[in-house]
């Protein structure tokens, strides 16, 4: 009985397809579409990096003797300035203070080209970290030179230097390219 129903349904479906083929095709032929045009342009682009490191990042003072560090632009974009985060540890005794100077050439006998260099920030002492900014420009691959000058060191104390670069204010001037 089931077979009979299946055969009848199959036959009806076949006939329906035959009839539909006759009457549906013209309806599709009359359907309207909208034409669009597309074009593609291609362009490659790469972003730069704004990075700077300081070495050594930590200096331990047991006497009031100046120490130096080197800052390197390790990115691919010239910098117009760098921010330094200065942290002074708590010494066992005394209340030492420190000053930070920059120079575009290496320090020689505590001098920057015979001068004192450019002071960054004011005076640092133990307590929370302080962030100060230098406006000395550094080209890609170039260095900036720091000198930390202590006063009143009577026991071991450590000064830690970190760098940070804010793209809004510490990168070279924007460039417009037309091509």
């Amino acid at each position: 009985m089931h077979h009979l129903h299946r055969s009848a349904r199959r036959a009806a479906a076949t006939a329906a397809i035959l009839l539909c083929a006759v009457f549906v095709a013209p309806i599709h032929a009359g359907a309207a579409g909208k034409v669009s045009g597309t074009v593609i342009g291609s362009e490659s682009v790469a972003s730069g990096k704004w990075l700077a490191t300081v070495s050594p990042a930590g200096m331990t003072f047991t006497t009031s003797t100046d120490q130096t560090a080197t800052v390197a632009n390790t990115g691919t974009i010239a910098l117009s300035g760098i921010s330094y985060k200065v942290t002074v540890s708590t010494p066992a005794s005394g209340s030492p203070t420190f000053k930070l100077y920059t120079c575009t050439v290496a320090w020689s006998s505590n001098k920057c080209s015979g001068g004192a260099g450019t002071q960054v920030g004011s005076t640092f002492s133990k307590g929370p970290a302080t962030t100060v900014s230098s406006t000395v420009a550094i080209a890609v691959g170039a260095d900036e030179y720091l000198q930390v000058e202590p006063t009143g060191v009577t026991s071991s104390v450590t000064v830690t230097l970190g760098t940070s670069i804010n793209p809004a204010t510490q990168l070279r001037s924007p460039i417009a390219t037309n091509h």
Binding site: H3, A8, S36, E43, V45
Partner: protein, 222 residues
């Protein structure tokens, strides 16, 4: 067993009978239609028609058009290219156009993985050709305000360009467009290390896809 086979055979015979009947009915319908047409007579009218074409092409307005940006882009930099969008088909376009920009590979420059950062696009139309210095000797019309690519990086998120008039194939068929690419960045690098995610040090190839639509269909009575 024998009764089942008899039932199956009977069912098969009935199925064949139904197919035969319906097929005969189909043929009968078609035959009847043919006979009716033959009895009605035939009149033939002739009409020639040609379909139009809608072709959008890209050509340099000045300079090299879309090409590789040399060097590396810093936040705030702009990379300007000058292109003509030409309707070279025989149909006028509708006013307006859409644009989407895909990056390959997709990365933080184009896919929004570094929130608030990445590449952006601005487009401006000039009434005459641009100069390579970025000067428009006529009047400028903004057609796309600065838009982050991560919000228009698929066909489904293509943005509509404003103020583009219909491009008529015979006259005024080109739109002179300055496309400016920019880089937006807010991330601070610390101790020589970029944050995660970052837009620094990435490369991608951008595909700018412009799409136009045909003018509205017209009804002609003749």
């Amino acid at each position: 067993m024998s009764q089942h086979r008899h039932t199956r055979m009977k069912a098969g015979r009935h199925g064949k009978a139904v197919v035969a009947g319906l097929f005969a009915m189909s043929v009968g319908l078609l035959t009847t239609a043919g006979v009716y047409a033959a009895l009605s007579g035939v009149a033939t009218g002739s009409e020639a028609v040609t379909s139009g074409t809608l072709n959008l092409t890209l050509s340099p307005d000045v300079g090299t058009s879309f090409s590789n940006f040399t060097g590396v882009m810093a936040p705030g930099d702009t990379d300007n290219v000058y292109v003509n969008l030409n309707n070279t088909g025989s149909l006028a376009t509708a006013a307006g156009m859409t644009l989407w920009v895909a990056g390959t590979p997709a990365n933080a420059l184009t896919n929004g993985t570094a929130p608030g950062e990445g590449l952006s696009v601005t487009a401006t139309q000039c009434s005459v050709a641009w100069t390579l210095a970025g000067v428009c000797g006529g009047s400028t019309t903004p057609i796309l305000a600065t838009t982050q690519i991560n919000s228009m990086n698929t066909a489904g998120t293509a943005v509509g360009l404003s103020n583009i008039p219909s491009l008529v194939a015979s006259t005024g068929k080109a739109a002179h467009v300055q496309v400016s690419l920019g880089l937006v960045a807010t991330e601070t690098s610390t101790n020589g290390v970029a944050p995660t995610p970052t837009i620094q040090g990435l490369s991608t190839t951008l595909a700018y896809t412009f799409t136009e639509q045909q003018r509205v269909g017209t009804a002609t009575n003749q």
